[in-house]
């Protein structure tokens, strides 16, 4: 019965899937946290006991089977923290494990529940599909029930404190391990200052000889361009990528929005594919896309740069757009359904009018990013003004580098100004 307008009403399958994925994700988060803690602790053990005293502590480096032990152990910790958390702490968020007969839940039965979890979750997907309590809850004779907030117990505040402690612990651990891994050395900064001073001095006397006349050094590479030529190319790279990217991201973003796609299986599939695409392609940085396309369509070509910028723009904007679409108020959607509108009409007349201003804002924001990116994409062979910058830098021709940097600053500043003004108009 999950139909056309299931987006508003939801459906049995969709509800269960939503619950399931919520539980799966929060579980995954627990697991990852434990895994992270385990990694940090092992790193510290290795660092302080292994590298400092090279002796029998050396055995602390993991044998080949060690990793599977760590994975299983962290998994186990996550299970226990979940199940114990359910048992102990969740009253704070309005649910608690309760005995079917209203009796006390003994530690032994909690243990039973935790052990059964290992069978229940892998085999029956926790029994969520059947509705009601998961199998491990039922066998252990208990279930999660909403409870009225108990004034005697510390409620949300205690939960917040717990989270605070966890965050503090993870933060300190990260800084500690990070410091050791990166090995920051401030002495170098001071020692090298004098050498760099000369370069700064040269850059501050910029050489604008080739601002409009093509620089003959590039003719060796069968290319001929001036700073201005490449400045124009760079601006157009950013503009083209932004426009192309937002035009492609726009329709995709509606497919990547749960409230538009509804809860039918096909809706879920399309949603999952598009969101997955956004997430994967977004997590590959523009620079990496640049090196991929540089190999594909030619090193140092503008096309490689544009493609890299466009692909990342589609994914990044698509995600931002989708989140906006998911945040629209559902009332107008309902009104269009009620008047006999189709899904497309709902999107066109109830969703788009609500999201358009923020779509514009995000597009302008992306434009800013693309302008900055287009000035450095040449580093990996993406073309544009950065090509010149890195060439001169490698030659040690600092006055010319100075000139190019000034032009880049001018481009970024001008584009910032324009997009800022446009943004004011929209707000």
């Amino acid at each position: 019965m999950s139909g056309d307008n299931a987006a508003i009403v939801g459906s049995a399958v969709g509800d269960r899937l939503a619950v399931l994925s919520r539980r799966a994700f929060s579980f995954l988060l627990d697991w990852m946290t434990w895994g992270y803690v385990a990694y940090c602790v092992m790193y510290l053990l290795n660092h302080y006991w292994y590298t400092v005293h090279v002796d029998w502590w050396g055995t602390l480096t993991l044998p080949s089977w060690g990793w599977s032990v760590v994975v299983l152990a962290t998994l186990e910790l996550a299970v226990w923290s979940r199940s114990l958390g359910r048992s102990l702490g969740q009253r704070a968020i309005g649910v608690a494990l309760q005995d079917a007969a209203g009796g006390r839940i003994t530690a032994g039965r909690r243990l039973v529940r935790i052990l059964l979890w290992h069978v229940s979750v892998p085999l029956f997907a926790a029994g969520f599909w059947r509705g009601g309590d998961p199998w491990h809850d039922r066998v252990a004779g208990m279930g999660l029930r909403p409870v009225s907030p108990d004034p005697e117990r510390p409620g949300r505040r205690a939960l917040a404190t717990q989270w605070g402690i966890v965050a503090l612990f993870l933060g300190v651990l990260t800084l500690w391990v990070g410091w050791l891994i990166i090995g920051i050395n401030f002495q170098i900064l001071a020692r090298r200052a004098a050498q760099t001073g000369r370069i700064w001095g040269e850059m501050l006397r910029p050489d604008f000889r080739y601002f409009t006349t093509p620089d003959p050094v590039f003719s060796l590479r069968a290319l001929s361009y001036s700073i201005l030529d490449l400045a124009v190319v760079t601006v157009f790279m950013a503009l083209t990528a932004t426009i192309l990217g937002s035009v492609i991201a726009f329709p995709l973003s509606f497919v990547g929005a749960r409230n538009v796609m509804g809860f039918s299986p096909s809706g879920w599939a399309a949603y999952g594919i598009v969101r997955g695409f956004f997430n994967v392609f977004r997590s590959i940085e523009t620079i990496i896309w640049g090196s991929i396309f540089a190999v594909w369509v030619g090193y140092g070509t503008t096309l490689a740069g544009i493609l890299a910028l466009t692909v990342h723009t589609i994914a990044a904007l698509g995600k931002l757009y989708s989140e906006q679409v998911e945040g629209v108020s559902p009332g107008p959607l309902e009104a269009v359904w009620a008047a006999g509108g189709s899904r497309v009409q709902v999107v066109r007349h109830a969703v788009i009018p609500q999201v358009l201003p923020s779509f514009w804002a995000f597009t302008l924001y992306r434009w800013d990013i693309n302008v900055r990116m287009s000035t450095v994409i040449a580093l990996v062979g993406g073309g544009g003004i950065g090509d010149m910058l890195f060439y001169y830098k490698n030659q040690g021709d600092w006055p010319k580098v100075g000139a190019v940097v000034i032009v880049i600053v001018a481009i970024v500043w001008a584009m910032d100004y324009i997009s800022g003004r446009l943004r004011e108009r929209i707000a």
Partner: protein, 257 residues
């Protein structure tokens, strides 16, 4: 003997999320031209009932017959065509805040537009004229090109009414149309509904919070309590005992003038 216009048979709705039994085996019939008022405490299932009738919410069990057609059996595409004849007015108005009044009113016509036209937002000239006429009818002709977030609550609900008028509805579903409004404005809105009922011959099904409003405007009242039908009859038939049954022992009747 002709069948009643709208027949609801054994209607049951279970919300999976939270396992709520929102409607329990409701049966009643509505004749053409009636002004049926649904009363009940909040959470009693009024909104769910109205949304089951135009299937914004899928009923779990039961049948709904409109003019001899079983709505629960219709495909989504056919149901959409039926929805064009069913206007709806909402408690929270459900307008697109950033659009103009006329933009919102025109969306009432969407069911009649071919896909490509709706996609481009090209409404025919007749529709635009009709939208202006309907805004005129609710006294908002001069606000046609004002963004609705600049309008007061009463004015917004009148935009909602104009939107429903665009459908030239045979049935009007009004889900607590005046709950967000003050008493004086409430009456003006209710009078528009009464007008649609009397002049345009639309069958009205409205859920209301206040019994006094229900008595004043309804030709018949049904009452819900925890999703069950606890009263079905003339407004005058609700006495003090009945009132306490519907609203609970401690309730006091409040007048809305």
């Amino acid at each position: 003997m002709a069948n009643p216009y709208l027949v609801v048979e054994h209607l049951t709705k279970v919300y999976e999320r939270g396992q709520v039994l929102a409607l329990r085996d409701l049966s009643f019939a509505v004749e053409k031209g009636e002004f049926l008022v649904v009363i009940g405490l909040s959470g009693s299932g009024k909104s769910t009932l109205l949304r089951c009738i135009n299937r914004l919410i899928e009923p779990t069990r039961g049948r709904i017959w409109l003019d001899g057609v079983d709505l629960t059996r219709l495909s989504q595409a056919r149901m959409r065509r039926v929805r064009r004849r069913i206007g709806m007015i909402f408690q929270q108005f459900n307008l697109v805040d950033r659009s103009t009044a006329i933009g919102n009113v025109l969306t009432g016509r969407l069911g009649y537009l071919p896909g490509w036209r709706a996609l481009l937002g090209w409404f025919p000239k007749e529709d635009r004229e009709k939208a202006l006429a309907n805004l005129e009818r609710v006294g908002l002709r001069d606000k046609a090109y004002v963004r609705v977030d600049q309008l007061s609550g009463g004015q917004r609900q009148r935009v909602g009414i104009a939107r429903a008028l665009m459908q030239e509805p045979e049935i009007l579903l009004a889900d607590e149309p005046v709950s967000a409004l003050d008493p004086a404005t409430s009456h003006s809105i209710m009078q528009y509904l009464e007008q649609m009922n009397r002049q345009d011959g639309a069958t009205v099904i409205a859920s209301l919070h206040f019994l006094s409003l229900a008595r004043r405007y309804g030709t018949r009242i049904i009452a819900l309590k925890d999703g069950q039908l606890v009263f079905d009859g003339l407004p005058t038939a609700i006495d003090n005992a009945k009132f306490k049954e519907i609203y609970g022992e401690d309730a006091e009747e409040v007048e809305v003038r």
